[in-house]
């Protein structure tokens, strides 16, 4: 079995998915049109007339 300093391939793959995979996914996602649409959608839910408390 392929190992790197005692780490097997499945464990290494899990680590690469976790780090830096998670961070790269987030950075890509937050630059997509989908995220901008999501922001615009939720920004319409509240306005200054909607006083709370």
């Amino acid at each position: 079995m392929i190992t790197f300093h005692g780490f097997t391939l499945p464990a290494i793959i899990c680590w690469l998915v976790a780090f830096p995979g998670g961070l790269i996914t987030a950075l890509i996602f937050f630059n997509t049109r989908f995220w901008k649409n999501l922001n615009e959608y939720f920004s319409e839910w509240l306005d200054s007339d909607n006083e709370h408390f």
Partner: protein
């Protein structure tokens, strides 16, 4: 070898005392931000994304982060930690913020909610669900907080040599000063400092391990030589159901943890969720990398030398750390414990003060409470909750430890469906939500009591039953009112129209 108490380490103690004084001073200066109960519980919905991100991470990682976490990874391996970290990164810091955070922020403002039971009561038009949720939170959060106090007290006794009971009282006094004076806003600001110190602490431990082992790869080699399965999955656990359910549990229970969900209530703006997510993910990544080096390298350094793996990080700091590493470790334990204690205290106290007393008892008797009175009530109840935690930390009952072990799983199973699914499922009904909360809590507690956690985490069956009942009971019971549907699902709804 380490003992339960050491001689007083004056250098580390001085740094820690300076740290605690700083926290109390910041809390005191922020006291004017609290003018009502709502300001106290949700920071006036004016907490920025940086403070929210650090507050979220610091509450998510309790003392377990710097004591229990490395102890578990040293036994279950780097593969276990990698999968747990995938859950933390993709589920807790990414999906949770998108699925739950954004909508929860806007809906909590529309419903005027500052606590999880308060939101559920409006969403499902039920005072019963408010009361049941508040009781579950109060009963589970207090023992959970006691276990955090115990973690801080034990670490302070081992590393700094301060007697356990005195450690608990010192921490409680500091928590009392900054939480009671500045409420959620001050707590969130202080969590930024806590967040940095938790990170500094784990980095310091990692550096101590690297230094003692002779390098990063040597540290990993040392650990995998001591236990070859540490570098594999499922590794030493040798069971996929146990491996997956235990490593991923925290990520999924997060969707139902009151002390995490209420962070979104207080966020200044739903659009800043992306900043919260990116900061949280960077924080978690740095933490995870150094935690792996600490736990795997630490296993190699201390294999066969510790009777209790919870002593791993104190042992690394005490034996392989210099004055600076010991001081940073001590501050990180205090930071990790205090940040979680603060979130737990605020959740438990809001359940009692806001939901049971103010919106439950007083509202039922048509006794309106002024802003000044709600702020005073919030402070009094918060003080009482801290006092109860201190008494139970010094004189613990066996039941307290049992409840603290069950807390996260039970609240997760009880609240995930009515809270998260109910945000998007219009047909969810009062009866469905009640069935879901009760069944989730009861099945999870029963799972712990019958010893199900030897095969699978009891949160899993609790959650499955809770979700099934949520949908099936909702299908056959009367639908929520049009007002609630509009308030929670129509983006054009405005308060004046109701």
């Amino acid at each position: 070898m380490l003992t339960d108490t050491a001689d007083i380490n004056w250098g580390s103690v001085s740094v820690m005392v300076a740290y605690l004084i700083l926290l109390a001073v910041i809390g005191w200066f922020l006291k004017n931000r609290v003018k009502s109960g709502n300001d106290f519980w949700s920071g006036g919905r004016n907490v920025g994304p940086v403070a929210t991100a650090f507050s979220f991470c610091a509450a998510y990682y309790s003392t377990a982060a710097v004591i229990g976490g490395p102890a578990i990874y040293a036994q279950y391996g780097a593969g276990y930690e990698a999968v747990e970290h995938i859950g933390n990164q993709f589920v807790s810091c990414f999906l949770m913020l998108i699925i739950l955070g954004m909508k929860m922020r806007v809906v909590s403002e529309r419903t005027g909610s500052v606590s999880l039971p308060g939101y559920l009561a409006v969403r499902y038009e039920s005072n019963a669900i408010r009361m049941i949720s508040a009781v579950i939170i109060a009963v589970m959060m207090i023992p959970y907080g006691v276990s955090c106090f115990k973690g801080i007290g034990t670490a302070m006794a081992v590393v700094a040599g301060i007697p356990y009971n005195i450690s608990i009282i010192i921490i409680a006094v500091v928590a009392l000063i900054y939480m009671v004076t500045s409420g959620y806003f001050g707590t969130a600001m202080i969590d930024v400092i806590h967040g940095f110190f938790i990170m500094f602490g784990i980095i310091a431990l990692g550096i101590a391990v690297i230094s003692a082992s002779g390098g990063i790869t040597q540290a990993l080699d040392l650990g995998t030589s001591a236990e070859p399965l540490l570098g594999d999955i499922p590794g030493p656990l040798d069971s996929w159901p146990l491996f997956l359910s235990f490593s991923l549990i925290w990520a999924f229970t997060g969707f139902g943890q009151p002390h995490l969900v209420t962070k979104f209530f207080a966020l200044k703006d739903s659009k800043t969720i992306s900043i919260v997510a990116i900061i949280s993910m960077i924080w978690c990544s740095v933490f995870a990398v150094f935690c792996t080096i600490t736990s795997i390298g630490g296993r190699g350094l201390f294999d066969g030398r510790l009777s209790d793996w919870d002593m791993l990080t104190p042992a690394i700091a005490y034996i392989h750390g210099n004055f600076l590493i010991q001081a940073l470790f001590l501050c990180s334990v205090v930071a990790a414990g205090l940040s979680t204690v603060a979130s737990l205290v605020l959740s438990a106290a809001s359940a009692i003060a806001k939901d049971l007393v103010e919106d439950g008892y007083m509202a039922a008797r048509n006794k309106p409470v002024s802003n000044k009175s709600t702020a005073a009530l919030s402070r009094i109840v918060t003080s009482i909750v801290i006092l109860i935690m201190v008494i139970l930390s010094i004189n613990p009952w066996d039941m307290v430890w049992q409840l603290s072990a069950m807390a996260a799983g039970t609240m997760g199973a009880a609240f995930v469906a009515p809270l998260t699914i109910g945000l998007y499922y219009k047909k969810a009904t009062r009866a469905g939500a009640l069935a879901s909360v009760i069944s989730g809590a009861v099945i999870t507690i029963a799972g712990y009591l019958i010893g199900l956690n030897g095969a699978v985490h009891p949160f899993m069956p609790g959650l499955i039953v809770s979700v099934i009942l949520f949908f099936s009971v909702s299908k056959f019971t009367s639908k929520p009112s049009d007002e609630v549907i509009a308030m929670c699902f129509d983006k054009n709804w405005r308060k004046k129209t109701v």
